[in-house]
């Protein structure tokens, strides 16, 4: 199992094209969105625009990398028959999912770090040392949830259906979780739904740290719940995949 994790990480690092775009895209979007008016207060939050979007874009970038990377790659590997071969080894389903999460996390970490660096260097964000570390770590750990979701999606769909399905989750989660527009500017009923999606809890971790607090336990619990849910679903789908494989 460790061998597979190590190998998936090696493969992720070797895939330079995917790595490059996954890493460049979030900081660029960050500068575009928050660049003009970085000191404006976010309505309903005690942090400003540059802080809000730093966490939101770190989350968005990480989610892009792990969702897209995992779902499409896995669907391809299933079609090629590699997963079939892998299922003839003693590897348990959770080992497969763990390896895929590790591989996704390899790509999401540099993208998160680059967003934070952009915040500090270009957007004038100033935080205490512990806050930088905590924002980085929570953004990274939170991305595991979406990596697991990516594995599950890779097993739900094949071929041409993978991308639209991924997009549906991707845009839905980004919108409801307030990654593009602050949740507080959305209609009340959307906010009510949004409070339960993992992306909302994901950015709430970093925002709490930026405001000088510890992340809320409720958010951590919600994310942990989603991680268990997505990872178990992915492991189950991996084992059950007798149809196409």
């Amino acid at each position: 199992m460790k061998t597979l994790i190590r190998m998936e990480i090696t493969r992720a690092l070797r895939n330079k094209k995917f790595m490059f775009f996954s890493v460049i895209y979030p900081p660029a979007l960050y500068v575009l969105i928050a660049g003009s008016n970085s000191n404006a207060r976010m309505p309903g939050l005690d942090i400003d625009l540059s802080l809000y979007y730093m966490v939101a874009m770190a989350a968005f970038g990480a989610m892009t990398a792990v969702l897209m990377g995992n779902s499409e790659r896995i669907a391809r590997e299933r079609e090629a028959g590699w997963v079939r071969q892998l299922r003839l080894t003693a590897l348990p389903g959770r080992g497969y999912v763990a390896a895929k999460i590790a591989s996704a996390a390899t790509v999401s970490l540099p993208s998160i770090l680059l967003v934070l660096l952009t915040g500090a260097a270009a957007m004038g964000v100033r935080l205490d040392a512990w806050q930088w570390v905590a924002v980085g770590l929570s953004s990274w750990a939170g991305s595991f949830v979406f990596a697991a979701l990516g594995v599950a999606i890779g097993y739900l769909a094949t071929g041409d259906a993978v991308r639209p399905l991924t997009m549906l989750f991707y845009f839905g989660l980004a919108f409801l979780g307030g990654l593009w527009l602050p949740s507080s500017s959305l209609p009340g009923w959307v906010q009510d739904i949004g409070a339960w999606v993992p992306t909302h809890a994901y950015t709430a971790l970093g925002q709490a740290v930026e405001a000088g607090h510890a992340p809320h336990l409720g958010d951590v619990g919600l994310l942990a719940g989603y991680l268990v849910l997505f990872a178990s679903a992915a492991a189950w789908l991996y084992r059950r995949d007798t149809r196409k494989a």
């Binding site: 493969r11 028959g81 071969q85 003839l88 007798t242």
Partner: protein, 332 residues
Amino acid sequence: MTSTQATTPAVEFSAAGKTYGSVRALDGLTVSLQAGQTVALLGPNGAGKSTTLDLLLGLRNPDQGGRVRLFGTTPRQAVTDGRVGAMLQSGGLMDGVRVRELVALACGLHPRGHPTEQVLADAGLTGIAERMVGKLSGGQEQRVRFALATAGDSDLLVLDEPTTGMDVTARRSFWSAMRAQAAQGRTVLFATHYLEEADEVADRVLVLHRGRLLADGSAAEIKAMAGVRRVGFTLDAVPDGVLEAQLRALPGVTELELSGAVVRLRSADADATVHAVYALGLYPRDLEVTALGLEQAFVALTARADAPHPPGAEPAPATTTPSSPHRKAAAK
């Protein structure tokens, strides 16, 4: 293989069937393989070979009522225990990695994995160990698949048309590597549509056709079955009744057809038949001996299997056992 010991069979299918939509890919297969046997699963394309192996490996589940056991347990459990090594037909390989890395992964995942270098050497991959998997030729890919199948100390090796895409030399070295595996006491089951491969390597041959087990016997028996030849020649004169009876009684002849002076017959032993024709003092002209070929032999077998015991039918050139007796059923 007439052992009646109460040992658990390596592989046991009981009424295992599989239907895809309206296609009956496998029709209630019942057969058991004893440990240590090398068994060929022979049949033309679409005979149900791959489905059989999928069920065997737990990649698919048999339809309701059927059951597949490996070493007395479920296929999945046997795989988890590292008792099964498998080489799938055109099974995809992981891309973005080197040959050595992929083989090391297989060795690492196996509960009783062999050293990577040894597996690479046995599969003839040492020279290309640093190459990226995506850049291999078809034959090299097959060797990588073989390495994945033999990465650990498994008790059962399952190979689905393993020599597809190999040239003659590669084929030969592949089978010698396979024999080495069998010599270590492993049970080997391989699917093929080449009778020659089954003949060279297997000590038992199962013939599948349209999802049914047509024959189960030694390679020699199956070969005799498929070794039927067509013999044709022209005589000087139209044969009379006596000569016709003599021709019909020639060694190996299973079928005779006369049209004027032209004689067409089928023989399980063409050499002996032709020899006996001369021994009768006949001078056959335009003598022609042609092989029936495996495909046609299958068709002949199917026709025989479909017919409900034709009275006075031609004797089968070799004994067949359409389904294996259920002797081992009590030994659980």
